[in-house]
Protein backbone atom coordinates (compact mmCIF):
# COMPACT_ATOMS: atom_id res chain seq x y z
CA UNK A 1 0.00 0.00 0.00
CA UNK A 2 1.27 3.48 -0.76
CA UNK A 3 2.10 5.93 1.98
CA UNK A 4 -0.86 8.19 1.22
CA UNK A 5 -3.11 5.13 1.07
CA UNK A 6 -2.03 4.15 4.55
CA UNK A 7 -2.62 7.65 5.87
CA UNK A 8 -6.15 7.60 4.46
CA UNK A 9 -6.61 4.24 6.21
CA UNK A 10 -5.58 5.90 9.45
CA UNK A 11 -8.33 8.52 8.99
CA UNK A 12 -10.91 5.77 8.54
CA UNK A 13 -9.65 3.98 11.66
CA UNK A 14 -9.94 7.18 13.71
CA UNK A 15 -13.49 7.70 12.41
CA UNK A 16 -14.53 4.13 13.22
CA UNK A 17 -13.01 4.31 16.70
CA UNK A 18 -14.80 7.59 17.43
CA UNK A 19 -18.05 6.13 16.14
CA UNK A 20 -17.93 3.58 18.98
CA UNK A 21 -16.04 5.52 21.64
CA UNK A 22 -18.31 8.59 21.66
CA UNK A 23 -21.59 6.67 22.20
CA UNK A 24 -19.97 4.40 24.80
CA UNK A 25 -18.54 7.36 26.70
CA UNK A 26 -21.91 9.13 26.45
CA UNK A 27 -23.70 6.04 27.77
CA UNK A 28 -21.15 5.77 30.58
CA UNK A 29 -21.68 9.40 31.49
CA UNK A 30 -25.46 8.80 31.62
CA UNK A 31 -24.87 5.80 33.89
CA UNK A 32 -22.54 7.79 36.12
CA UNK A 33 -24.99 10.68 36.26
CA UNK A 34 -27.85 8.34 37.16
CA UNK A 35 -25.73 6.84 39.94
CA UNK A 36 -24.88 10.33 41.15
CA UNK A 37 -28.55 11.32 41.13
CA UNK A 38 -29.50 8.14 43.03
CA UNK A 39 -26.84 8.87 45.64
CA UNK A 40 -28.38 9.52 49.07
CA UNK A 41 -26.05 12.48 49.64
CA UNK A 42 -27.50 16.00 49.44
CA UNK A 43 -24.93 18.07 47.51
CA UNK A 44 -26.05 21.32 49.14
CA UNK A 45 -25.46 19.95 52.65
CA UNK A 46 -22.24 18.32 51.42
CA UNK A 47 -21.05 21.67 50.11
CA UNK A 48 -21.99 23.53 53.29
CA UNK A 49 -20.11 21.01 55.43
CA UNK A 50 -20.42 21.67 59.17
CA UNK A 51 -22.35 24.86 58.38
CA UNK A 52 -25.21 22.66 57.13
CA UNK A 53 -26.27 22.13 60.76
CA UNK A 54 -26.73 25.85 61.37
CA UNK A 55 -27.69 27.02 57.87
CA UNK A 56 -31.32 27.94 57.42
CA UNK A 57 -33.48 25.88 55.08
CA UNK A 58 -33.85 28.97 52.83
CA UNK A 59 -30.09 29.24 52.36
CA UNK A 60 -29.82 25.58 51.44
CA UNK A 61 -32.79 25.94 49.09
CA UNK A 62 -31.05 28.94 47.54
CA UNK A 63 -27.91 26.82 46.97
CA UNK A 64 -29.98 24.11 45.33
CA UNK A 65 -31.74 26.64 43.14
CA UNK A 66 -28.39 28.19 42.11
CA UNK A 67 -27.09 24.81 41.01
CA UNK A 68 -30.39 23.80 39.43
CA UNK A 69 -30.52 20.62 41.53
CA UNK A 70 -34.32 20.75 41.61
CA UNK A 71 -34.60 20.76 37.79
CA UNK A 72 -35.72 17.54 36.10
CA UNK A 73 -32.82 15.06 35.80
CA UNK A 74 -32.57 15.07 31.97
CA UNK A 75 -32.23 18.87 32.03
CA UNK A 76 -29.51 18.61 34.66
CA UNK A 77 -27.71 15.92 32.67
CA UNK A 78 -27.77 17.90 29.44
CA UNK A 79 -26.46 20.98 31.22
CA UNK A 80 -23.63 18.99 32.83
CA UNK A 81 -22.61 17.15 29.68
CA UNK A 82 -22.74 20.22 27.44
CA UNK A 83 -20.56 22.13 29.92
CA UNK A 84 -18.20 19.14 30.01
CA UNK A 85 -17.92 19.02 26.23
CA UNK A 86 -17.22 22.76 26.13
CA UNK A 87 -14.37 22.27 28.59
CA UNK A 88 -16.15 23.48 31.73
CA UNK A 89 -15.62 20.56 34.10
CA UNK A 90 -17.75 22.01 36.88
CA UNK A 91 -17.23 22.97 40.51
CA UNK A 92 -15.66 20.56 43.00
CA UNK A 93 -17.84 20.42 46.12
CA UNK A 94 -15.15 18.76 48.24
CA UNK A 95 -12.33 21.19 47.40
CA UNK A 96 -14.40 24.35 46.81
CA UNK A 97 -12.66 25.27 43.58
CA UNK A 98 -13.18 24.59 39.87
CA UNK A 99 -12.53 20.97 38.87
CA UNK A 100 -10.27 22.16 36.03
CA UNK A 101 -7.90 23.94 38.41
CA UNK A 102 -7.76 20.87 40.69
CA UNK A 103 -6.77 18.74 37.71
CA UNK A 104 -4.27 21.32 36.46
CA UNK A 105 -2.54 21.52 39.85
CA UNK A 106 -2.44 17.76 40.46
CA UNK A 107 -2.26 15.90 37.15
CA UNK A 108 1.40 16.82 36.56
CA UNK A 109 2.66 14.82 39.56
CA UNK A 110 0.58 11.81 38.62
CA UNK A 111 1.80 11.96 35.02
CA UNK A 112 5.40 12.24 36.24
CA UNK A 113 4.96 9.19 38.49
CA UNK A 114 3.31 7.13 35.75
CA UNK A 115 5.72 8.30 33.03
CA UNK A 116 8.95 7.55 34.89
CA UNK A 117 7.62 4.21 36.17
CA UNK A 118 6.48 3.19 32.71
CA UNK A 119 9.86 4.06 31.16
CA UNK A 120 11.61 2.04 33.87
CA UNK A 121 9.26 -0.93 33.41
CA UNK A 122 9.72 -0.94 29.63
CA UNK A 123 13.53 -0.92 29.75
CA UNK A 124 13.72 -3.52 32.53
CA UNK A 125 11.10 -5.85 31.08
CA UNK A 126 12.61 -5.81 27.57
CA UNK A 127 16.04 -6.61 28.98
CA UNK A 128 14.99 -9.24 31.55
CA UNK A 129 12.28 -10.82 29.39
CA UNK A 130 14.68 -11.23 26.44
CA UNK A 131 17.42 -12.69 28.64
CA UNK A 132 14.94 -15.17 30.15
CA UNK A 133 13.71 -16.20 26.70
CA UNK A 134 17.27 -16.81 25.46
CA UNK A 135 17.54 -19.95 27.56
CA UNK A 136 13.97 -20.95 28.07
CA UNK A 137 13.61 -23.25 31.06
CA UNK A 138 17.05 -22.28 32.36
CA UNK A 139 17.82 -21.16 35.88
CA UNK A 140 17.41 -17.45 35.12
CA UNK A 141 14.15 -18.04 33.26
CA UNK A 142 12.64 -20.05 36.09
CA UNK A 143 13.84 -17.65 38.79
CA UNK A 144 12.48 -14.66 36.90
CA UNK A 145 9.11 -16.32 36.31
CA UNK A 146 8.82 -17.36 39.95
CA UNK A 147 9.62 -13.81 41.03
CA UNK A 148 7.10 -12.41 38.55
CA UNK A 149 4.31 -14.66 39.83
CA UNK A 150 5.18 -13.79 43.42
CA UNK A 151 5.16 -10.02 42.79
CA UNK A 152 1.96 -10.37 40.75
CA UNK A 153 0.13 -11.58 43.85
CA UNK A 154 1.24 -8.63 46.00
CA UNK A 155 -1.20 -5.69 46.22
CA UNK A 156 0.70 -2.54 45.23
CA UNK A 157 -0.18 -0.67 48.45
CA UNK A 158 1.16 -3.55 50.52
CA UNK A 159 4.36 -3.54 48.47
CA UNK A 160 4.61 0.20 49.11
CA UNK A 161 4.20 -0.21 52.87
CA UNK A 162 6.76 -3.04 52.90
CA UNK A 163 9.18 -0.80 50.97
CA UNK A 164 8.67 1.97 53.53
CA UNK A 165 9.27 -0.47 56.40
CA UNK A 166 12.51 -1.72 54.84
CA UNK A 167 14.09 1.20 52.97
CA UNK A 168 12.78 4.17 54.93
CA UNK A 169 12.48 2.86 58.51
CA UNK A 170 14.81 -0.11 58.92
CA UNK A 171 17.64 1.06 56.65
CA UNK A 172 16.90 4.79 56.65
CA UNK A 173 18.07 5.24 53.05
CA UNK A 174 15.06 7.02 51.61
CA UNK A 175 12.22 9.25 52.84
CA UNK A 176 8.94 7.51 53.73
CA UNK A 177 6.63 9.92 51.95
CA UNK A 178 5.84 13.41 50.77
CA UNK A 179 7.48 15.33 47.96
CA UNK A 180 10.00 17.46 49.84
CA UNK A 181 11.78 17.45 53.19
CA UNK A 182 9.70 18.70 56.10
CA UNK A 183 12.21 21.50 56.68
CA UNK A 184 12.40 22.52 53.02
CA UNK A 185 11.09 25.99 52.20
CA UNK A 186 11.07 25.59 48.43
CA UNK A 187 10.77 22.75 45.94
CA UNK A 188 14.11 21.68 44.48
CA UNK A 189 14.34 19.04 41.79
CA UNK A 190 16.96 16.97 43.56
CA UNK A 191 14.81 16.83 46.70
CA UNK A 192 11.75 15.79 44.69
CA UNK A 193 13.75 13.16 42.81
CA UNK A 194 15.04 11.76 46.09
CA UNK A 195 11.46 11.51 47.39
CA UNK A 196 10.20 9.91 44.20
CA UNK A 197 12.68 7.00 44.14
CA UNK A 198 10.57 4.74 46.37
CA UNK A 199 7.12 5.51 44.86
CA UNK A 200 8.42 5.15 41.30
CA UNK A 201 10.29 1.97 42.20
CA UNK A 202 7.25 0.42 43.90
CA UNK A 203 4.88 1.26 41.03
CA UNK A 204 7.40 -0.05 38.49
CA UNK A 205 8.03 -3.31 40.36
CA UNK A 206 4.32 -3.94 40.87
CA UNK A 207 3.57 -3.42 37.17
CA UNK A 208 6.66 -5.24 35.86
CA UNK A 209 5.52 -8.91 36.06
CA UNK A 210 2.88 -8.56 33.35
CA UNK A 211 5.34 -6.87 30.97
CA UNK A 212 8.25 -9.21 31.75
CA UNK A 213 6.15 -12.33 31.20
CA UNK A 214 4.76 -10.95 27.96
CA UNK A 215 8.21 -10.05 26.55
CA UNK A 216 9.58 -13.41 27.63
CA UNK A 217 6.83 -15.32 25.81
CA UNK A 218 6.99 -13.14 22.70
CA UNK A 219 10.79 -13.35 22.38
CA UNK A 220 10.74 -17.10 23.08
CA UNK A 221 8.27 -17.41 20.21
CA UNK A 222 10.34 -15.31 17.82
CA UNK A 223 13.53 -17.24 18.72
CA UNK A 224 12.00 -20.00 16.57
CA UNK A 225 11.31 -17.75 13.58
CA UNK A 226 13.12 -18.49 10.32
CA UNK A 227 15.04 -15.24 10.25
CA UNK A 228 16.37 -15.82 13.76
CA UNK A 229 17.44 -19.35 12.85
CA UNK A 230 19.10 -17.91 9.76
CA UNK A 231 20.97 -15.37 11.87
CA UNK A 232 22.14 -18.18 14.14
CA UNK A 233 23.18 -20.27 11.16
CA UNK A 234 25.32 -17.40 9.89
CA UNK A 235 27.22 -17.66 13.15
CA UNK A 236 26.26 -14.29 14.60
CA UNK A 237 27.03 -13.89 18.31
CA UNK A 238 24.20 -14.73 20.70
CA UNK A 239 23.78 -11.14 21.86
CA UNK A 240 23.28 -9.88 18.30
CA UNK A 241 20.78 -12.63 17.55
CA UNK A 242 18.82 -11.98 20.73
CA UNK A 243 18.64 -8.18 20.74
CA UNK A 244 19.12 -7.45 17.04
CA UNK A 245 16.87 -10.12 15.58
CA UNK A 246 14.58 -11.92 18.06
CA UNK A 247 13.70 -8.95 20.28
CA UNK A 248 13.09 -6.68 17.29
CA UNK A 249 10.39 -8.96 15.92
CA UNK A 250 8.70 -9.15 19.31
CA UNK A 251 8.96 -5.42 19.97
CA UNK A 252 6.12 -4.00 17.87
CA UNK A 253 3.14 -5.99 19.18
CA UNK A 254 4.46 -5.31 22.68
CA UNK A 255 4.21 -1.56 22.20
CA UNK A 256 0.50 -1.68 21.32
CA UNK A 257 -0.17 -3.72 24.46
CA UNK A 258 1.42 -1.00 26.57
CA UNK A 259 -1.55 1.19 25.64
CA UNK A 260 -4.06 -1.38 26.85
CA UNK A 261 -2.22 -1.68 30.17
CA UNK A 262 -2.45 2.03 30.97
CA UNK A 263 -5.65 1.77 33.09
CA UNK A 264 -3.81 -0.58 35.47
CA UNK A 265 -1.01 1.97 35.79
CA UNK A 266 -3.50 4.72 36.66
CA UNK A 267 -5.07 2.59 39.39
CA UNK A 268 -1.64 1.66 40.71
CA UNK A 269 -0.60 5.33 40.75
CA UNK A 270 -3.67 6.29 42.83
CA UNK A 271 -2.75 3.69 45.46
CA UNK A 272 0.99 4.48 45.44
CA UNK A 273 0.26 8.20 45.85
CA UNK A 274 -1.93 7.43 48.84
CA UNK A 275 0.73 5.25 50.48
CA UNK A 276 3.48 7.85 49.99
CA UNK A 277 1.24 10.92 50.60
CA UNK A 278 2.07 12.46 47.24
CA UNK A 279 0.04 15.47 46.08
CA UNK A 280 -1.20 13.88 42.85
CA UNK A 281 -4.66 12.98 41.59
CA UNK A 282 -4.86 9.98 43.94
CA UNK A 283 -5.24 12.00 47.11
CA UNK A 284 -7.91 14.29 45.64
CA UNK A 285 -9.77 11.29 44.23
CA UNK A 286 -9.97 9.67 47.65
CA UNK A 287 -11.00 12.93 49.33
CA UNK A 288 -13.60 13.50 46.61
CA UNK A 289 -14.95 9.97 47.12
CA UNK A 290 -15.22 10.44 50.88
CA UNK A 291 -17.10 13.69 50.23
CA UNK A 292 -19.28 12.23 47.42
CA UNK A 293 -17.94 14.99 45.14
CA UNK A 294 -19.70 14.00 41.92
CA UNK A 295 -18.29 16.67 39.53
CA UNK A 296 -14.66 15.98 40.45
CA UNK A 297 -14.95 12.17 40.46
CA UNK A 298 -16.88 12.05 37.19
CA UNK A 299 -14.43 14.43 35.52
CA UNK A 300 -11.36 12.49 36.68
CA UNK A 301 -12.84 9.18 35.51
CA UNK A 302 -14.03 10.46 32.12
CA UNK A 303 -10.90 12.51 31.39
CA UNK A 304 -8.51 9.64 32.20
CA UNK A 305 -10.61 7.31 30.05
CA UNK A 306 -10.43 9.73 27.13
CA UNK A 307 -6.65 10.03 27.59
CA UNK A 308 -6.24 6.23 27.67
CA UNK A 309 -8.42 5.84 24.55
CA UNK A 310 -6.33 8.45 22.74
CA UNK A 311 -3.11 6.71 23.83
CA UNK A 312 -4.45 3.35 22.62
CA UNK A 313 -5.34 4.87 19.27
CA UNK A 314 -1.92 6.52 18.97
CA UNK A 315 -0.01 3.30 19.73
CA UNK A 316 -2.19 1.33 17.28
CA UNK A 317 -1.63 3.89 14.52
CA UNK A 318 2.12 3.98 15.25
CA UNK A 319 2.14 0.18 15.05
CA UNK A 320 0.38 0.22 11.68
CA UNK A 321 2.75 2.91 10.40
CA UNK A 322 5.83 1.01 11.56
CA UNK A 323 4.73 -2.38 10.26
CA UNK A 324 3.15 -2.29 6.79
CA UNK A 325 1.81 -5.85 7.18
CA UNK A 326 -0.56 -4.75 9.93
CA UNK A 327 -4.10 -3.80 9.01
CA UNK A 328 -6.29 -2.23 11.66
CA UNK A 329 -9.82 -3.56 11.49
CA UNK A 330 -11.36 -0.68 13.35
Amino acid sequence: MTRSGRLAGAGAVVRRRLLIAVPVLAATSVGMFALGAASPVDPAKQYAGAAAFTASEENLAQLRANWGIDDPLPVQYLRWISNLVQGDLGWSTSRHEPVASVLAARAGWTLLLIGVSLALVLVASLLLGALAAYRRGGVFDRALRAAAYAVQSMPVFWLGLAAIAVFALALGWLPAGGLTDVTATSTSWSDVAHHLILPVGVLAVSQAPWFVLFVRDAVAESMRDDHVLAARARGLPGRTVLFGHALRTALLPFLTLVGTHLPELVGGAVLVETVFSLPGLGAVTVAAALGSDFPLLAAITLVTTAVVLAANLATDLAYAAADPRVRLDG
Binding site: L25, S39, V41, R135, Y149, W158, P263, E264, V266, A289
Partner: protein
Protein backbone atom coordinates in the same frame (compact mmCIF):
# COMPACT_ATOMS: atom_id res chain seq x y z
CA UNK B 1 18.59 -22.75 22.17
CA UNK B 2 21.19 -24.63 20.12
CA UNK B 3 22.31 -26.65 23.15
CA UNK B 4 18.70 -27.59 23.86
CA UNK B 5 18.23 -28.97 20.37
CA UNK B 6 21.47 -30.94 20.63
CA UNK B 7 20.47 -32.59 23.91
CA UNK B 8 19.46 -36.27 23.55
CA UNK B 9 15.66 -36.65 23.57
CA UNK B 10 15.73 -39.12 26.46
CA UNK B 11 17.23 -36.52 28.79
CA UNK B 12 14.64 -33.98 27.71
CA UNK B 13 11.83 -36.36 28.56
CA UNK B 14 13.36 -37.05 31.98
CA UNK B 15 13.73 -33.35 32.64
CA UNK B 16 10.15 -32.62 31.73
CA UNK B 17 8.99 -35.48 33.99
CA UNK B 18 10.95 -33.92 36.80
CA UNK B 19 9.45 -30.51 36.07
CA UNK B 20 5.95 -31.98 36.13
CA UNK B 21 6.57 -33.65 39.46
CA UNK B 22 7.91 -30.46 41.05
CA UNK B 23 4.86 -28.68 39.63
CA UNK B 24 2.69 -31.25 41.38
CA UNK B 25 4.38 -30.59 44.72
CA UNK B 26 3.67 -26.87 44.27
CA UNK B 27 0.06 -27.61 43.44
CA UNK B 28 -0.33 -29.81 46.53
CA UNK B 29 1.14 -27.08 48.73
CA UNK B 30 -1.15 -24.50 47.14
CA UNK B 31 -4.13 -26.80 47.64
CA UNK B 32 -3.28 -27.21 51.33
CA UNK B 33 -2.95 -23.43 51.78
CA UNK B 34 -6.30 -22.88 50.13
CA UNK B 35 -7.92 -25.67 52.13
CA UNK B 36 -6.68 -24.13 55.40
CA UNK B 37 -7.77 -20.65 54.27
CA UNK B 38 -11.28 -21.72 53.26
CA UNK B 39 -11.82 -24.06 56.23
CA UNK B 40 -10.41 -21.46 58.60
CA UNK B 41 -12.64 -18.69 57.34
CA UNK B 42 -15.71 -20.96 57.37
CA UNK B 43 -15.11 -22.44 60.85
CA UNK B 44 -13.65 -19.35 62.55
CA UNK B 45 -16.89 -18.17 64.23
CA UNK B 46 -17.35 -21.62 65.79
CA UNK B 47 -13.77 -22.30 66.85
CA UNK B 48 -12.29 -18.87 67.54
CA UNK B 49 -15.05 -16.28 68.01
CA UNK B 50 -14.07 -12.61 67.64
CA UNK B 51 -15.60 -9.57 69.26
CA UNK B 52 -15.17 -7.05 66.41
CA UNK B 53 -15.29 -4.02 68.69
CA UNK B 54 -13.10 -5.32 71.55
CA UNK B 55 -9.88 -3.44 72.30
CA UNK B 56 -7.10 -3.99 74.86
CA UNK B 57 -5.41 -0.67 75.41
CA UNK B 58 -2.86 -2.15 77.83
CA UNK B 59 -1.48 -4.45 75.10
CA UNK B 60 -0.91 -2.14 72.14
CA UNK B 61 1.70 -2.80 69.45
CA UNK B 62 3.14 -5.97 71.00
CA UNK B 63 5.67 -7.71 68.76
CA UNK B 64 4.80 -11.19 67.41
CA UNK B 65 5.12 -13.86 70.12
CA UNK B 66 3.53 -17.19 70.99
CA UNK B 67 0.62 -15.41 72.66
CA UNK B 68 0.08 -13.14 69.65
CA UNK B 69 1.38 -14.91 66.55
CA UNK B 70 1.30 -11.75 64.42
CA UNK B 71 1.54 -9.23 67.28
CA UNK B 72 -1.11 -6.70 68.26
CA UNK B 73 -2.19 -3.42 66.60
CA UNK B 74 -2.45 0.13 67.96
CA UNK B 75 -5.65 -0.78 69.86
CA UNK B 76 -4.20 -3.96 71.34
CA UNK B 77 -6.18 -6.27 69.05
CA UNK B 78 -4.61 -9.58 68.05
CA UNK B 79 -3.56 -9.19 64.39
CA UNK B 80 -3.60 -12.91 63.55
CA UNK B 81 -7.09 -13.31 65.02
CA UNK B 82 -8.51 -10.38 63.07
CA UNK B 83 -6.68 -11.48 59.90
CA UNK B 84 -8.61 -14.77 59.94
CA UNK B 85 -11.87 -12.81 59.96
CA UNK B 86 -10.50 -10.37 57.40
CA UNK B 87 -9.76 -13.26 55.08
CA UNK B 88 -13.29 -14.56 55.66
CA UNK B 89 -14.81 -11.24 54.53
CA UNK B 90 -12.37 -10.84 51.63
CA UNK B 91 -12.99 -14.33 50.28
CA UNK B 92 -16.75 -13.87 50.60
CA UNK B 93 -16.71 -10.51 48.80
CA UNK B 94 -14.24 -11.83 46.24
CA UNK B 95 -16.29 -14.93 45.43
CA UNK B 96 -19.64 -13.11 45.19
CA UNK B 97 -18.16 -10.29 43.10
CA UNK B 98 -16.42 -12.78 40.81
CA UNK B 99 -19.77 -14.55 40.31
CA UNK B 100 -21.50 -11.25 39.44
CA UNK B 101 -18.74 -10.44 36.96
CA UNK B 102 -18.92 -13.94 35.47
CA UNK B 103 -22.67 -13.74 34.89
CA UNK B 104 -22.35 -10.28 33.27
CA UNK B 105 -19.37 -11.28 31.13
CA UNK B 106 -20.91 -14.64 30.26
CA UNK B 107 -24.09 -13.01 28.96
CA UNK B 108 -22.30 -10.35 26.88
CA UNK B 109 -19.66 -12.79 25.58
CA UNK B 110 -22.37 -15.39 24.93
CA UNK B 111 -24.45 -13.00 22.84
CA UNK B 112 -21.41 -11.83 20.86
CA UNK B 113 -20.14 -15.36 20.32
CA UNK B 114 -23.45 -16.96 19.30
CA UNK B 115 -24.72 -14.20 17.04
CA UNK B 116 -21.33 -13.25 15.59
CA UNK B 117 -21.04 -10.84 12.68
CA UNK B 118 -21.99 -7.23 13.20
CA UNK B 119 -23.42 -7.66 16.74
CA UNK B 120 -20.15 -9.30 17.77
CA UNK B 121 -18.03 -6.52 16.27
CA UNK B 122 -19.99 -3.76 17.97
CA UNK B 123 -20.20 -5.53 21.35
CA UNK B 124 -16.47 -6.23 21.38
CA UNK B 125 -15.66 -2.63 20.45
CA UNK B 126 -17.81 -1.53 23.39
CA UNK B 127 -15.93 -3.94 25.65
CA UNK B 128 -12.61 -2.50 24.38
CA UNK B 129 -13.78 1.03 25.12
CA UNK B 130 -14.92 0.18 28.63
CA UNK B 131 -11.59 -1.59 29.17
CA UNK B 132 -9.93 1.80 28.68
CA UNK B 133 -11.56 3.09 31.89
CA UNK B 134 -9.20 2.77 34.85
CA UNK B 135 -11.31 0.29 36.80
CA UNK B 136 -10.08 1.43 40.20
CA UNK B 137 -11.36 4.95 39.44
CA UNK B 138 -14.69 3.56 38.23
CA UNK B 139 -14.85 1.38 41.34
CA UNK B 140 -14.11 4.39 43.57
CA UNK B 141 -16.84 6.35 41.78
CA UNK B 142 -19.41 3.59 42.31
CA UNK B 143 -18.55 3.20 46.00
CA UNK B 144 -18.54 6.97 46.53
CA UNK B 145 -22.01 7.36 45.06
CA UNK B 146 -23.57 4.32 46.77
CA UNK B 147 -21.80 5.10 50.10
CA UNK B 148 -19.27 2.48 51.32
CA UNK B 149 -20.91 -0.83 52.24
CA UNK B 150 -20.64 -4.53 51.47
CA UNK B 151 -23.13 -4.27 48.58
CA UNK B 152 -21.41 -1.23 47.09
CA UNK B 153 -18.04 -2.97 47.14
CA UNK B 154 -19.47 -6.08 45.48
CA UNK B 155 -21.21 -3.94 42.83
CA UNK B 156 -18.03 -1.95 42.27
CA UNK B 157 -15.92 -5.06 41.71
CA UNK B 158 -18.55 -6.96 39.71
CA UNK B 159 -19.29 -4.08 37.34
CA UNK B 160 -15.61 -3.46 36.55
CA UNK B 161 -14.28 -7.00 36.14
CA UNK B 162 -16.57 -8.69 33.61
CA UNK B 163 -14.68 -7.64 30.46
CA UNK B 164 -12.08 -10.42 30.40
CA UNK B 165 -14.79 -13.05 30.94
CA UNK B 166 -16.79 -11.64 28.03
CA UNK B 167 -13.72 -11.87 25.78
CA UNK B 168 -12.93 -15.46 26.83
CA UNK B 169 -16.50 -16.75 26.36
CA UNK B 170 -16.86 -14.98 23.02
CA UNK B 171 -13.62 -16.30 21.51
CA UNK B 172 -14.33 -19.80 22.79
CA UNK B 173 -17.81 -19.80 21.23
CA UNK B 174 -16.50 -18.43 17.93
CA UNK B 175 -13.88 -21.16 17.66
CA UNK B 176 -16.39 -23.87 18.67
CA UNK B 177 -18.89 -22.78 16.02
CA UNK B 178 -16.56 -23.86 13.23
CA UNK B 179 -16.02 -27.38 14.62
CA UNK B 180 -17.47 -30.35 12.69
CA UNK B 181 -19.55 -31.63 15.59
CA UNK B 182 -21.55 -28.41 15.58
CA UNK B 183 -22.15 -28.72 11.83
CA UNK B 184 -23.18 -32.32 12.44
CA UNK B 185 -25.66 -31.29 15.12
CA UNK B 186 -27.15 -28.59 12.90
CA UNK B 187 -27.49 -30.91 9.90
CA UNK B 188 -29.01 -33.47 12.26
CA UNK B 189 -31.85 -31.00 12.77
CA UNK B 190 -30.88 -29.47 16.13
CA UNK B 191 -32.29 -26.02 16.75
CA UNK B 192 -30.30 -22.97 17.80
CA UNK B 193 -31.18 -23.43 21.47
CA UNK B 194 -30.32 -27.13 21.48
CA UNK B 195 -26.96 -26.48 19.82
CA UNK B 196 -26.23 -23.83 22.40
CA UNK B 197 -27.23 -25.82 25.48
CA UNK B 198 -26.17 -29.33 24.45
CA UNK B 199 -23.12 -28.72 22.28
CA UNK B 200 -21.61 -25.33 23.01
CA UNK B 201 -22.19 -24.69 26.72
CA UNK B 202 -20.59 -27.93 27.98
CA UNK B 203 -17.36 -26.82 26.29
CA UNK B 204 -17.54 -23.24 27.51
CA UNK B 205 -18.40 -23.97 31.15
CA UNK B 206 -14.96 -25.28 32.22
CA UNK B 207 -13.35 -22.15 30.76
CA UNK B 208 -15.91 -20.01 32.51
CA UNK B 209 -15.25 -21.73 35.83
CA UNK B 210 -11.51 -21.20 35.36
CA UNK B 211 -12.04 -17.53 34.54
CA UNK B 212 -14.16 -17.12 37.67
CA UNK B 213 -11.49 -18.73 39.83
CA UNK B 214 -8.78 -16.54 38.33
CA UNK B 215 -10.94 -13.50 38.99
CA UNK B 216 -11.26 -14.13 42.73
CA UNK B 217 -7.73 -12.79 43.47
CA UNK B 218 -8.48 -9.68 41.38
CA UNK B 219 -11.74 -9.18 43.24
CA UNK B 220 -9.94 -9.58 46.57
CA UNK B 221 -7.30 -7.00 45.56
CA UNK B 222 -9.96 -4.58 44.41
CA UNK B 223 -11.88 -4.96 47.67
CA UNK B 224 -8.76 -4.58 49.81
CA UNK B 225 -7.65 -1.58 47.74
CA UNK B 226 -11.00 0.16 48.33
CA UNK B 227 -10.93 -0.67 52.05
CA UNK B 228 -7.30 0.47 52.22
CA UNK B 229 -8.33 3.84 50.80
CA UNK B 230 -11.03 4.03 53.47
CA UNK B 231 -13.77 3.61 50.86
CA UNK B 232 -14.61 -0.05 51.31
CA UNK B 233 -16.07 -1.97 54.19
CA UNK B 234 -17.07 -0.19 57.45
CA UNK B 235 -13.89 0.69 59.38
CA UNK B 236 -14.64 -1.30 62.56
CA UNK B 237 -15.07 -4.50 60.56
CA UNK B 238 -11.98 -6.73 60.47
CA UNK B 239 -11.17 -6.86 56.77
CA UNK B 240 -7.70 -7.28 55.31
CA UNK B 241 -7.82 -3.88 53.57
CA UNK B 242 -9.07 -2.13 56.71
CA UNK B 243 -6.33 -3.78 58.78
CA UNK B 244 -3.59 -2.68 56.35
CA UNK B 245 -5.05 0.83 56.43
CA UNK B 246 -5.28 0.87 60.26
CA UNK B 247 -1.75 -0.46 60.56
CA UNK B 248 -0.15 2.36 58.55
CA UNK B 249 0.33 4.54 61.65
CA UNK B 250 1.83 1.63 63.61
CA UNK B 251 4.15 0.88 60.68
CA UNK B 252 5.71 4.33 60.93
CA UNK B 253 6.43 3.77 64.64
CA UNK B 254 8.15 0.47 63.88
CA UNK B 255 5.27 -1.96 64.47
CA UNK B 256 5.36 -3.30 60.92
CA UNK B 257 3.34 -6.45 61.68
CA UNK B 258 -0.01 -4.67 62.06
CA UNK B 259 0.03 -3.74 58.34
CA UNK B 260 2.32 -6.28 56.72
CA UNK B 261 0.89 -9.45 58.30
CA UNK B 262 -2.67 -9.03 56.89
CA UNK B 263 -1.09 -8.20 53.51
CA UNK B 264 1.01 -11.36 53.66
CA UNK B 265 -2.23 -13.33 54.05
CA UNK B 266 -3.52 -11.84 50.78
CA UNK B 267 -0.24 -12.64 49.02
CA UNK B 268 -0.13 -16.28 50.16
CA UNK B 269 -3.78 -16.99 49.36
CA UNK B 270 -3.77 -15.30 45.93
CA UNK B 271 -0.51 -17.05 45.06
CA UNK B 272 -2.10 -20.38 45.98
CA UNK B 273 -5.12 -19.64 43.78
CA UNK B 274 -2.84 -18.62 40.89
CA UNK B 275 -0.75 -21.80 41.16
CA UNK B 276 -3.82 -24.05 41.20
CA UNK B 277 -5.49 -22.15 38.36
CA UNK B 278 -2.33 -22.43 36.22
CA UNK B 279 -2.33 -26.18 36.78
CA UNK B 280 -6.03 -26.37 35.92
CA UNK B 281 -5.42 -24.39 32.71
CA UNK B 282 -2.65 -26.82 31.74
CA UNK B 283 -5.11 -29.68 32.04
CA UNK B 284 -7.71 -27.87 29.97
CA UNK B 285 -5.22 -27.12 27.23
CA UNK B 286 -2.48 -29.76 26.87
CA UNK B 287 -0.87 -27.80 24.03
CA UNK B 288 0.15 -25.02 26.41
CA UNK B 289 1.53 -27.57 28.86
CA UNK B 290 3.70 -29.10 26.14
CA UNK B 291 5.08 -25.64 25.36
CA UNK B 292 5.72 -24.80 28.99
CA UNK B 293 7.68 -27.93 29.69
CA UNK B 294 9.66 -27.99 26.48
Amino acid sequence: MADLAARPPLLRVARSRLRLRSGRAGAVAAGLVLLVAVAGSLLAPLVWPLDQSAVALDQTRLAPSWAHLAGTDDLGRDVAHRAVYGLRVSLLVGAVAALVATVLGGVVGGIAGTLGGRVDRILMRIVDTIAAMPHLLLGIFIVAMLRPSLGAVIASVGLTHWLSTARIVRSELLSLRTRPFVDAAISGGAGRLRVLTRHLLPHVLPRLALATTLMIPHAVWHETALSFLGLGLPPHLASLGNMINDGQGSLLTGAWWASLAPGAVIVVVTLAIAVLAARWRDRLDPRIRAELHL
